[in-house]
């Protein structure tokens, strides 16, 4: 599978990452290598295997609808670069 620079740009935009021109070139080659490696899976014969939607064999893990103590707002905001009152502050996004 060929990964063009445009594809890298597109994926970078989804991930909100800004990449320089030389990074685009380098990453397109690396991503292509990774995908080609994963393509090896296509060689496996899965005609007798049902599709897996989950890696675990357990199911129906539930908890009772009960309250647990939440974190204190001071603790929640401890690492926040910007805050106001007990709210996080981010650049205006609307």
């Amino acid at each position: 599978m060929q990964i063009t620079k445009d594809t890298v740009k597109y994926v970078a935009a989804l991930a909100r990452i800004e990449l320089k021109e030389e990074e685009l070139a380098r990453l397109s080659g690396q991503l292509e290598g990774i995908l080609n490696f994963i393509d090896k899976l296509k060689e496996a014969d899965v005609s007798q295997v049902s599709p897996t939607s989950h890696i675990l064999t357990v199911n129906n893990v539930l908890r009772k609808d009960e309250l647990k103590t939440s974190l204190k707002p001071e603790k929640v905001l401890n690492n926040a670069p910007h805050k106001e009152g007990t709210s996080f502050v981010v650049p205006k996004v609307i």
């Binding site: 989950h54 199911n59 893990v61 939440s70 996080f88």
Partner: protein, 477 residues
């Protein structure tokens, strides 16, 4: 060219549980920002979400009530996007194997009944809340991880009014199930609308826009009306519609473009490895189905059967669960066989009082006993229907009983012939011309004389008895 709109609705309903969908934080509304969060809902490394059993039960309940097929195997997926209200950078949702498929909501239109198909019902978690200030946005994660149910309709709605009816009926069903507050103002019920237009007769769907920021059912209807005009107008001058998200501005009454809408693949869905799948046994679904409360349609049919109400009247009364229970209580306690009198009062004066006060029938805080006391006054001809309406308003305003108001204001109708006769004699003496007119065959003159007696009795004369007495008296004169 003639265009027709095609509308599909996505409704998000917040499920009323004590704790969040995947962690033990409280779901209480209105707490201090970021006081109801923990490593799980903040998406800290190493934390592990575990599904709330009550959330799943409520979801199955809704699915069954909407006639959906609950799936035997269901799982959660991660939906990725970056936004400051989403601390994990993905939302736990369901993608290709949702909880339930293929339900329906029946709506009533002027042209008759119509069945709107429900495509799917799935569980997901809510995002946080952003408050936009002057130069910054404030983030509160208390809402992050709240249990939401998304109910997606098929594009079966062909007008803003149909969309409006669908929402009302869906809300009615949800309120009967008692699984949510269904309060749009608090955000426990939200709606996004997908709308496209296509030339009449065309099978293929047009390019849709998704409308957001719809804060009331009226806003849904108005924004759809606006959007149909906008799209048809654009196509009319040869413009292309682009797939995008548009925000409704309630004050300006128009939509404006927010962003071009990403495609599903941009969300990079994949199964959430933190949440093992769920196998839902038929016996479980059946158990929940059997425990379902009476739903609006069933109640409507029963009210028609038990109390002889018309389909229309019963339909109005069952709309809100609490109002339906109140109405039923009133009719059950009413001693007479014919309940129409009570239903008329509920649907007529009482409902308009409620509408004037922007509340529901139960919001008027009028006990069934007090209402029935008022009806008894009308039934026994002690007061007229007109007086009853005045007393009713007074009862709601002052919380006094009907008997107290009627006594205080001396409103009892005069049905006593001897006291009516005194007024009649006076009026006949004072209105010789009208008496002559009546005798010469002018029927109108009688109504004039009735009016004069009414004036003398301050409106309290029993109109039926008065008319009979007056007619008899004039014949003899």
């Amino acid at each position: 060219m003639n265009y027709e709109p095609v509308i599909g609705l996505e409704v998000h309903v917040q499920i009323k549980t004590k704790s969040k969908a995947f962690c033990g934080c409280s779901t209480e509304f209105g707490a201090e920002p970021n006081s109801q969060v923990c490593p799980v809902c903040l998406g800290f490394p190493g934390s592990l979400p575990v599904l709330n059993a009550s959330f799943l039960d409520a979801a199955i309940k809704v699915a069954v009530a909407l006639g959906c097929q609950v799936q035997e195997f269901t799982k959660f997926d991660r939906k990725h996007y970056f936004y400051p209200d989403l601390p994990k950078n993905y939302q736990i949702s369901q993608y290709d194997l949702p909880l339930a498929l293929n339900g329906f909501v029946d709506i009533e239109l002027e042209s008759g009944a119509k069945r709107i198909r429900v495509k799917r019902v799935h569980l997901e978690e809510d995002a946080g809340k952003l408050i936009h200030a002057d130069k910054m946005s404030l983030v509160d994660f208390n809402r992050t991880g709240m249990p939401l149910l998304e109910i997606v309709s098929e594009p079966d709605l062909y007008s803003p009014q149909e969309a409006y009816e669908y929402l009302n009926n869906l809300k009615s069903i949800l309120s009967y199930l008692d699984i949510s507050d269904c309060d749009m103002e608090k955000g426990s019920l939200r709606c996004d609308a997908n709308i496209s237009v296509r030339p009449k007769g065309e099978e293929k769907l047009g390019i849709k826009s998704e409308l957001k920021n719809l804060n009331s059912f009226r806003a849904v209807r108005d924004s759809l009306t606006y959007e149909i005009e906008r799209q048809v107008g654009a196509l009319g001058v040869g413009e292309k519609i682009i797939q995008e998200t548009r925000l409704w501005d309630d004050k300006e009454s128009k939509t404006y473009s927010m962003r071009s809408k990403g495609e599903a693949k941009d969300y990079r869905y994949f199964p959430d490895p933190d949440l093992p799948p769920f196998i839902i046994k038929f016996s479980k679904v059946d158990e929940i189905r059997k425990a379902l409360p009476e739903l609006p349609k069933e109640k409507q049919v029963r009210l028609m059967r038990d109390f002889g109400l018309s389909e229309y009247d019963a339909g109005i009364l069952v709309f809100s669960k609490k109002d339906a229970e109140y109405s039923e209580d009133c009719m059950r306690k009413y001693p007479k066989e014919n309940k129409k009198q009570v239903a008329n009062l509920l649907i007529g004066p009482l409902l308009s009082e409620a509408n004037n006060r922007n509340c529901r029938l139960v919001g008027l805080d009028l006990s069934a006993e007090n209402l029935l006391e008022l009806i008894d006054y009308v039934d026994s001809n002690k007061i007229s229907h007109l007086t009853a309406k005045i007393v009713l308003t007074e009862m709601i305003d002052t919380k006094k009983k009907a008997s107290v108001i009627i006594q205080e204001k001396n409103l009892v109708q005069i049905s006593d012939t001897s006291s009516l006769n005194i007024s009649i004699e006076e009026v006949i003496k004072e209105n010789d011309k009208s008496v002559q007119d009546f005798k010469n065959g002018k029927e109108n003159a009688l109504m004039f004389l009735v009016g004069q007696v009414m004036k003398k009795t301050k409106g309290k004369a029993n109109p039926k008895i008065l008319q009979e007495l007056l007619r008899g008296r004039l014949k003899d004169a």
